[in-house]
Amino acid sequence: MSTEQITTKSVSTNNTSIKHISVKRYLPDSSAEAYWQQYEMPVDDSTSLLDALNHIKEQLDSTLSYRWSCRMAICGSCGVMVNGIPKLGCKTFLRDYEGEIRIEPLSHFPVQRDLVVDMEIFLEHLAAVKPYLIDDNPVKPYDPKAPETYQQTPEQLARYKQFANCINCGLCYSACPQFGLNPEFLGPAALTLAHRYNLDSRDHGKKQRMTELNRHEGVWSCTFVGFCSQVCPKHVDPAAAVNQGKVEAAKHTLIALFKG
């Protein structure tokens, strides 16, 4: 190995500046109405929105409530609206915003308090599509004494892998007007998860899932607005999954038709 000096950018992070962040507050036990509150803080090039919220919580106003955990864009906790667009707080950097930054709770979900929304409906929709491997008659049942894996080639894996990357952050639901218009719509993430299992070569549950997908509130409520895929922080492309689901549902119907 050569012993040359490593040249990597030693970052000039410390472009510190003062920024204003407006947060939509809602404290149901003290006021029925939401209101805007502005905070001022020093930020630098590496300050994420989550860092800013944590700064508010610890230094300025400990009553601000929001969810967060991993701060590396994998746990899906910290979704909020940033200037009207759903984003993960930990993956949003204040350096990218000129002027005012307005933070609101995720759209289309009931607000519990401040930036915390009620995600129960999202969880219900996820559970509705049977998002687990269904193999009612596996060729080789699981035997702990002689455990054996299924076979799955990298090509077969590649067919669904992208759709398995959803972190359940719910941003796509906030981006989806069809969910906003009708909360019974199963929505992007749930339909994507169903499609992920339908595409899995190890799974045989497509027929069971289709009864959920082939409903008005299933794939057919989607009009391919496509904003869900724009805001997805993990590039899952839920819009593609949902619309591939329409093709599957059409096939399913055709088969049902012929079988009578």
Binding site: T149, Y150, A164
Partner: protein
Amino acid sequence: MQQRDFDIVIVGGGGAGLRAAIGAAEHAKEHKTPQRIALLSKVYPMRSHTVAAEGGAAAVTSAEDSHQAHFDDTVSGGDWLVEQGVVDYFVHHAYQELVQMERWGCPWSRKDDGQVQVRRFGGMKTARTWFAADKTGFHMLHTLFQTSLKYPEIERFDEYFVLDLAVHEGAVIGVIALQVATGELTLLRAKAVILATGGAGRLFRFNTNAGIVTGDGMAMAYRHGVALRDMEFVQYHPTGLPGSGILITEACRGEGGILLNKDGYRYLQDYGLGPETPLGKPENKYMELGPRDKLSQAFWQEQQAGRTGKFGDSDVVYLDLRHLGEKYILERLPFICELAKSYINVDPVKEPIPIRPAVHYTMGGIETDPLCETSIAGLYAAGECASVGLHGANRLGSNSLTELLVFGRLAGEQASKRAAQTEWADTRLLEAQAERQQATLARLCDGEGSGESWVELKHAMVQAMESGCGIYRTEEGMRHSLETMRQLRERYAKIRVNDTSKIFNTELLECIELGYGLDIAEASCLGALERRESRGAHQRLDEGMQKRDDVNYLKHSQVFYQGEAPAELRWQDVDVRFSAPAERAYGDAGKGGKV
């Protein structure tokens, strides 16, 4: 106050908790003893920190590998401070658990022929780490969560924060939890309780852990008299991003990444890990594939010698992946690329990644027997919160994801077995304990505390832990940290929260977590101070304590809670029935040792 009855209550919805829930449900089904299982989590289960695990899960897989080899790696990796019977059970049950995950749909990375692929990992003799790109924990957690939806007997209590265990006459009888959304207390009566609450990395300022990793379950068990064991062993992961501490997986090195100091020199060869392995040809247990404790210690030495570079305010070394080529990097390590680009604006395909060690894992925890049961009857623990005795003084990368499956299931089955033979305790016993909790909450919210700020206390705690209980430790530093913890615990008694709302009061939760944290931080400092030797992740600079001392310290530390008084430490023998302690060596030096 809501009151519900369950056969089994599981606290924690991460990998271990979910696996325990499924294990219990399957066990109950098999034995035709229908059981209701409650799964409580302070966050939605898929937010649990298992989600952030990247590299993989270890199990003996190839024909050339053997249980003996995995056993030996784990025992020597843990510097012989492991329960060898437990390790033996672990290595024999690892494979079946990973296959079970596969049968549940986990998208493991594959070889061209459709078989599961394995990769190299630090301290492991051969490649035996199963992986799903570099998001293994994420895929495992989501697979477990989604699979758990199949079981109607598992009732989830998402965003329920457990305040305390209810214990009566040496047996657990339930838990008391706070529904975060409403602030209401909930009493869950149970015949068995499993703690699966994860580690306590957030005791330290600079760490790879999520904000929720605050050691809650450890503190709950500890306060009821269960020993915290080996808490002085805290793992520094050698490769965290500067600034945030975000984890850059060991798999980078398993796939052939190399570590360089600021001169572009592969410094690990100077720390008993050499000779240098050729570029792109990583060799197990050599150089970058040494164990985490050794690598983090080597960083510290380089830092002392002034051979580290700078990134922002951080001293760093460099993880170079460039020789692996763009295609390979993007296939095997896509998440790493995303993280490095987002958080430090470095593209690993084009530049070496600046990295530095960060606190990653709590080797110690709630002491359990080999069947995951604690000293309280009916109380089990599994996963990072537990000290079942697998990791000893240093955990090997990719053993913990497998651990939460093997011991999560075992704990679930044991709890199910117990629940089938036990009756619920009298509800009034729980109510009495709940009233105590009610009073504690009231004191925090509108008590007469002097208004100590949790923020200040928290910062003091993480600073003290970092300065006194870092990669290298001194008597003086640890003593100071221990003193600090004791003072902070006193100050904590006067703490008050500003936010008195009942609805989603995260300030209140932070305060309670801080209380948990201070108790276990004291245990950690005490164990560290009293262990007057160097072993695994516990390295002392003090004269005469820089070597392992098997005569006096081939023993687990056990710390016992004493209320407001200082905690007490005892020593416990280690199970060394299969493998006598030997020299722990890597690189060429390790060649002559045990096979």
